[in-house]
Symmetry: C2
Subunit: 126 residues, 2 copies
Amino acid sequence: MMGSIGAEMQDEILRKADVMAEACPSRQILNHVTSRWGMLVLLALLGGTQRFSALKRRIGGVSERMLAQTLQLLEADGLVHRHAHDVVPPHVDYTLTAPGRELAEKVVGLTGWIEANLPRLTPAAA
Amino acid sequence: MMGSIGAEMQDEILRKADVMAEACPSRQILNHVTSRWGMLVLLALLGGTQRFSALKRRIGGVSERMLAQTLQLLEADGLVHRHAHDVVPPHVDYTLTAPGRELAEKVVGLTGWIEANLPRLTPAAA
């Protein structure tokens, strides 16, 4: 991906990237990652390549429609790779890309903190 | 907050906390934090106490309604403290609680990664 834009453009993007700015592309990616299901998909894929049905079982409460939509967005962001194997019956699975894996580690930092600190948060939530 | 539940209950909560489980309270908090605006509010408050109007200016694109709703959820989770000063005209401001600050640091890990790695992601997004 790095080859598709010049070094100057990359510097420009880096200097300006600001999730607080509504129009910044980083905000768009943040929205995908923090969609209701984006984080949990990244987290589930940290365990390795998975088929759609396995992801659906792993992520409590996700619908087929929402899971498919989330995977499409993450694939378009270059965070998830979709692999359709050329076999009968069809077999499709999903893997984190290299950037996807790095981002998923950051997600673990966040979700792990929430899980570990649940008792410190409000009694209502705990 | 720690005093409100027994040590055994805390161990129980810690052992079982699992964001993948739909019914786990940690999922509820994750949903609040990763609401469309939750992350950006936590991030904005890392800079220190802020009034509603300053938060609204800082976070590009947020509506008054969504900002108010997000602050209420984060306050209920024990992540944000709302302080209504006893003055005329009324003056209300918002501060991160100690757990809120810790969580906000994890959010920085995530949003900082996205900002710094934007050029590596899809050309469409960059």
